[in-house]
């Protein structure tokens, strides 16, 4: 492993993070890590070491902005609990891990994720679930811009992303597969519309469910908005039930309002745009 090359600040200067291993307490299969001021390389190294040593539950306290937690892991039966603000690219490129964040997640959570279960009991930032290929991400509150871009699915590998609050522009841009759900319920801004503009722009696969109203001008030209039928609701129900259980919400209450279903009109939205020379 390449050592971080002299990046620590000189003595006396305020340090954002220290480049030393965190304090770890082991209690059988449960491990507690204090991430207070620990740099991401050392923190994630410690997490990987503990998993390799057999830990099943890792509780990380005092997280503030450390990046890449859970990145590149591919294990089952292991859970990481994060207390604090998870830094950028949480659970990026993972192929199996369960993570629960008691706080907010910053940008890029679930980026290019293949498998895993991420539950954020707060808000999440921009670029959530970019290129997601499997697994599920549940966010309790609001999310930012460019959420769920180019999600993909193939046969059994279907990513699911559920946001309990509202989203901003470019939700589901260029979606190729998977399921995006936007509930608009746990939001801080009641007056804001549930989603911004350019919803589903370039969508050519997958499906977006929105609990509430979505106006045609908000969506890209490649999608059609319909009211979710009973058949669609049977597809949606298990996802909502799982989400509600994870968040401690009432699934029936969530399902009591009608949902809009946004899906691509064509799987080749740009067919007419190009001419062959």
């Amino acid at each position: 492993m390449i050592k971080p090359a002299s990046i620590a600040p000189p003595a006396g200067v305020i340090e954002g993070y220290r480049y030393m291993a965190p304090v770890v307490e082991r209690d059988g299969e449960i491990v507690r890590i204090d991430a207070q001021g620990v740099y991401f390389q050392q923190l994630n190294g410690a997490v990987r070491d503990e998993i390799a040593a057999g830990a099943k539950l890792i509780k990380i306290a005092n997280v503030n902005g450390q990046r890449y937690i859970g990145t590149g892991l591919g294990v089952s039966g292991v859970k990481i609990e994060i207390e604090g603000t998870a830094g950028n690219d949480l659970a990026m490129l993972t192929d199996g891990i369960e993570i629960e964040v008691f706080g907010n997640a910053q940008d890029g959570a679930g980026n290019t994720m293949s498998n895993g279960r991420i539950v954020v009991r707060g808000d999440a930032g921009d670029v959530l679930g970019y290129g997601m290929r499997g697994g599920c991400v549940y966010v309790k509150g609001d999310v930012g811009y460019r959420v769920g871009i180019h999600m993909k699915a193939y046969e059994k590998l279907v990513p699911v992303l559920v946001c309990g609050g509202k989203a901003l522009d470019f939700f589901g841009e260029y979606m190729a597969g998977g399921m995006l759900v936007l509930l608009g319920m746990n939001t801080r801004d009641e007056r804001q519309p549930i989603a911004g503009g350019f919803l589903g722009a370039g969508m050519h696969g997958g499906v977006i469910y929105v609990r509430g109203t979505v106006e045609p001008w908000q969506c890209g030209a490649e999608v059609g908005i319909t009211t979710a039928s009973e058949k669609h609701m049977t597809e949606l129900r298990p996802v909502i039930e799982d989400y509600a259980a994870a968040m401690g919400m009432d699934a029936e209450h969530i399902l009591s309002q009608p949902f809009k279903r946004i899906a691509p009109i064509s799987h080749r939205p740009y067919a007419k745009l190009y001419a062959l020379m």
């Binding site: 990145t71 001419a275 020379m277």
Partner: protein, 503 residues
């Protein structure tokens, strides 16, 4: 149906006296040029001049001619410009084309010449003396720390020395070409040849097919904006990881894979619906500034166990500053793609008018990194129409560590540069997914042809080095003193740091 104004570009001429009437031409053509009724009857307007029928006709009785119609002389409106307007009026579409920029911009490599030693400094015999081409790709430290080994000798200090560099037997690698834009047979040929030659091939942005898993130590995997095929396993199978930011043929815009080329297998590897167009977005949606690139580089390092991560960019105006930022963001190598680089499909207007020449890009990037004292922190891979070992030698002299070849490899597999890759009907089986065509590339045969090409160029490089009086390629690397220009304008000469012949 309305008549097209555009006349056929080529005329297929068959000498019927010699024709065997075997029907081979009908079967070989990917564009259904031939009907057969007693003898082959060509539809000239469909011919792409790929020469597959010419090559495989047992009687050698087919030839392809240009259909030259007389136009009133007009230096301003070329026939290409006329045809483009007619085609756009017909279709309302963005004109798509393939392969590299064919326009008559200055070819700087052709105005550079190499030195040779005589009398005062002897040349070296390349056939019998050692001539070292071995090159290490990756980040190198500023210096080497040693400690005493306790026995009166020395050894590397803990953590000193090189980490994660990749050894190449010759300074040539294969350019990224995605599975989807080229057929699986091409990918397999490249992988096998890379293993045999001790170099690397690159998956391009279409993911890594399982047939290539045995060759994973010679494969660079690419992470492009569409994130096709990018999973943890993908990263862990690679020798190195490359973030594709841009491509010389289409700087600033994303990848195009027309739906015709997304068959079941491609759909599975890329995880997008069959038949849909795979138009990769131009930017990575999580890279909108240099610190975001750094974030992605370290995310990939964390996910792969700190393998080398390189960044591929197109050569554009401020390529030197971009390269400097990329190196400081933690990249282990930079792949520079000049404006002559090839592509499976790109809008013609971007391919032909956007980007700068590779020669200039290499020179300014190498210079800028040296000025900042960070040249050792990343290797430079240069690509974009490297047509011969001479181009490779000149690129290395300008400052590149390694050259990458793309078009040349496809030519080795039979390509005739007919610029029709985007139609997905390549008669040679190279840039198509149709099974009846792709079976024409036998990976063993392809690997042998590619190995031949790389070996031939390596030997030629050794001849050039011998003539230059050096026996190791690192003595040519960045040594612009060994180049002179002929007929090149002064400002370009200054930018390249190459003196005019005579000085």
């Amino acid at each position: 149906m309305r008549q097209s104004f555009i006349q056929p570009e080529f005329r297929v001429k068959i000498d019927y006296d010699k024709c065997h009437k075997c029907g081979r031409c009908v079967q070989q053509c990917g564009w259904d040029v031939y009907d057969f009724s007693e003898r082959p009857i060509p539809h000239d307007e469909r011919c792409r001049a790929c020469h597959r029928c010419v090559t495989f006709c047992p009687a050698h009785c087919i030839t392809i001619e240009k259909n030259t119609l007389a136009f009133r002389d007009n230096d301003n409106w070329s026939t290409d410009a006329l045809k483009a307007v007619w085609r756009q009026a017909e279709t309302g579409g963005v004109l798509l084309t393939s392969m590299g920029n064919p326009r008559p911009y200055e070819r700087i490599f052709d105005k550079l010449v190499l030195d040779a030693c005589q009398v005062t400094n002897p040349s070296i015999d390349p056939l019998r003396e050692p001539m070292e081409l071995c090159t290490y790709l990756g980040r190198k430290p500023d210096s080497v720390e040693v400690v005493s080994d306790g026995n009166g000798g020395f050894m590397l200090a803990d953590g000193a020395g090189m980490h994660h560099n990749i050894k190449l037997d010759t300074p040539i690698v294969f350019s990224p070409m995605s599975y989807g834009s080229v057929s699986l047979g091409v990918h397999r040929s490249l992988a096998m040849a890379a293993e045999r030659c001790g170099i690397l091939m690159n998956t391009g942005e279409g993911g890594l097919h399982e047939d290539l898993h045995p060759f994973q130590d010679n494969v660079i995997v690419q992470v492009a904006s569409g994130r096709f095929g990018v999973s943890r396993e993908y990263l862990q199978r690679a020798a190195a990881i490359e973030i594709k930011i841009g491509q010389g043929a289409k700087p600033g815009i994303g990848g195009h894979l027309p739906g015709e080329k997304i068959d079941r297998e491609v759909s599975a590897t890329r995880m997008i619906p069959q038949g849909s167009d795979a138009i990769s977005p131009a930017p990575h949606h999580d890279i909108y500034s240099i610190e975001d690139l750094r974030q992605l580089i370290y995310a990939l390092k964390e996910a792969s166990g700190y393998k080398p991560v390189g960044v591929k960019i197109a050569a554009v105006h401020n390529v030197a500053a971009i390269a400097s930022g990329i190196v400081r963001a933690g990249a282990d190598y930079i792949y520079l793609d000049g404006f002559r680089g090839g592509t499976g499909a790109a809008p013609a207007v971007i391919r032909d008018h956007v980007g700068i020449p590779l020669e200039i890009a290499i020179a300014v990037v190498d210079q800028r990194l040296r000025e900042e004292g960070i040249r050792n922190q990343a290797s430079i891979v240069a690509a974009g129409s490297i047509r011969s070992s001479a181009d490779a030698a000149k690129a290395i002299a300008l400052g590149a560590d390694v050259v990458a070849i793309g078009t040349a490899t496809l030519l080795a597999l039979g390509c005739h540069l007919c610029q029709s890759c985007h139609t997905g009907r390549c008669s040679w089986g190279i840039t198509t997914q149709k099974p009846e065509l792709t079976r024409r590339i036998d990976p063993e045969w392809g690997a042998e042809r590619l190995t031949n090409l790389v070996n031939a160029w390596s030997h030629e490089l050794q001849e050039i080095l011998g003539a230059l009086g050096v026996n190791a390629v690192e003595s040519l690397r960045g040594s612009r003193e060994r180049l002179r220009s002929i007929g090149l304008d002064e400002s370009t000469g200054l930018i390249l740091g190459v003196k005019p012949a005579g000085l």
